[in-house]
């Protein structure tokens, strides 16, 4: 399909999506030892990272109803108070891999903490999910993102060193499937 006049046959096919065109998917699985608590880091070619739930996260897999999302991670710290200014994004809270971003409580009383997964400056957290928690289930990789983080310039290449690539993630997932199939 093209404005230039050339044609392609399969009109239903999307072609590479925005994420496929500009981002690399990285994963962290079983975070803090908790089974299946997987997250995804979408790394843009300009080094900005978007933190999202991975499709294998229990909230999505279990189709859970969300009761509350809390960005107040401690008495003195709310991710909602994060303010950045200027081109160098001064003032953004600096996060390390296990810095909590938010706590999600579901109607079945299960609680999940979502972590940063990478080192960097917090630019923004998604406030839309406070009003519409359903986005986490319906569009976890786009509208239901959790946060946007800017790694340090010097660390842009190494920031994903501790994460799994898409292939490695799929390997971990398939091993889980067979582990569950094994007799006790």
């Amino acid at each position: 399909m093209s404005l230039d006049g050339t044609e392609e046959k399969n009109c239903e096919a999307q072609g590479p999506s925005v994420i496929e065109r500009y981002y690399t998917r990285w994963y962290k699985t079983d975070i803090k030892g908790k089974p299946n608590e997987d997250q995804c880091v979408l790394q843009h070619s300009n080094r900005i990272c978007v933190i999202t739930l991975a499709e294998t996260h229990p909230i999505i897999q279990g189709g859970k109803s969300i009761k509350e999302i809390n960005y107040q991670i401690s008495d003195g710290c709310s991710r909602l108070n994060n303010k950045v200014s200027g081109k160098s994004k001064k003032g953004g809270q600096f996060l390390t891999e296990f810095a909590p971003l938010c706590r999600i409580t579901c109607t079945d009383e299960t609680e999940y903490t979502i972590y940063s997964c990478i080192r960097g400056r917090l630019l923004e957290v998604n406030e839309c999910i406070l009003e519409t928690p359903d986005l986490l289930l319906k569009k976890p990789s786009t509208d239901g993102y959790i946060a946007v983080i800017l790694p340090k310039f010097e660390e842009s290449k190494t920031v994903t060193d501790g994460l799994l690539s898409r292939e490695e993630y799929e390997g971990v997932i398939s091993k889980r499937g067979s582990a569950q199939a094994e007799p006790c």
């Binding site: 404005l3 009109c11 999307q14 072609g15 300009n46 081109k87 630019l123 509208d143 993102y145 946007v148």
Partner: protein, 301 residues
């Protein structure tokens, strides 16, 4: 005499830039100036010392409008860490014949906005201006300028230049005016996840003055401040193509991010086309149809 006028800046070779000197002269009162440098001057007490004098030609400004027909041509040279990422650029294609004919040492390219590598610029094109630095040849008449325009147009089918002309330094301001308050028109090829029919997209034609709140797109957020910008989509019209594609024509306020209006940029542009159509949408191609700035003056061909 003027202690705060000359601040060393990273990008400048000398503290005494043209702007700084002009500003300093405006700041200093005639009285103060005459105290140190009376007219007629006092008798010198020492011999004159040889100073190294450098003569430079004043910059020449060439303006015009450019079309970009290629989807693999950046507007300005794309070089990261000393490595060129993409061949050539609009700037270099326009500059080549000018740099050699004017025998200039270098240039500064600016334009009324810019487009992405993969976006074409059609219609009358986008206004641009080029400052040629230290041009050793500067006297050219209109016929010769037209020849330069021809030379540029002959050199590549990826771009086209029109209305090429010499302008004053002040005239450059007209171009940057266009960035904030003028309008631009586009055609985008849209893909929809759900199957659509002609009737499903007809309502878009009736939407007028749609106010958008656009958070700084993630793709430019590494070099721009995080902010929310309000922008207007003045009107739109659709042309159905097939069950998953249609053409969207838009006329928007300058500074509107079209791609983000279409795919929502993770929901950070609201409202967006995806929301309006209640389905995932993506932008397959984008063309700039017009940049509604009436400068530089048109030159009949």
């Amino acid at each position: 005499m003027c202690p705060d006028c000359f601040k060393p800046a990273r990008n400048k070779q000398s503290v005494f830039t043209r702007m700084a000197v002009v500003k300093a002269l405006e700041k200093v009162s005639d009285e103060k100036f005459l105290k140190k440098y009376p007219c007629p001057p006092t008798r010198p007490t020492t011999k004159c010392i040889d100073q190294l004098v450098k003569c430079l030609h004043g910059s020449i400004f060439v303006a015009g409008r450019y079309n970009k027909f290629s989807r693999t041509l950046p507007q300005t040279p794309w070089i990261i860490d000393g490595e060129r990422r993409m061949e050539s650029s609009v700037e270099e294609l326009i500059a080549a014949p000018l740099l050699s004919s004017f025998k200039a040492d270098g240039l500064n390219f600016s334009s009324s906005g810019r487009e992405d590598v993969d976006v074409r610029t059609l219609g009358k094109g986008r206004p641009f201006a080029m400052e040629l630095l230290n041009p050793h040849c500067s006297k050219f008449n209109k016929a010769e300028i037209r020849q330069f325009q021809e030379a540029i147009n002959q050199s590549s089918d990826k771009i086209r230049v029109r209305d090429l002309q010499l302008v004053s330094r002040d005239a450059m301001m007209h171009m940057k005016e266009g960035e904030e308050d003028k309008t631009k028109s586009y055609t985008a090829l849209i893909w929809t996840r759900k199957a659509i029919e002609k009737e499903d997209i007809a309502f878009i034609n009736d939407i007028k003055e749609l106010k958008l709140d656009q958070k700084t797109p993630l793709r430019v957020l590494h070099r721009r401040p995080l902010a929310v910008r309000q922008r207007l989509v003045h009107n739109m019209s659709t042309r159905f193509l097939d069950s998953h594609h249609f053409y969207l024509e838009l006329k928007t306020q300058a500074g509107t991010y079209i791609k983000e209006f279409v795919h929502s940029d993770f929901g950070r542009t609201k409202p967006n086309l995806s929301e309006l159509l209640k389905t995932d949408t993506d932008i397959i191609e984008l063309d700039v149809e017009s940049v509604d700035v009436d400068w530089p003056p048109a030159i009949p061909e």
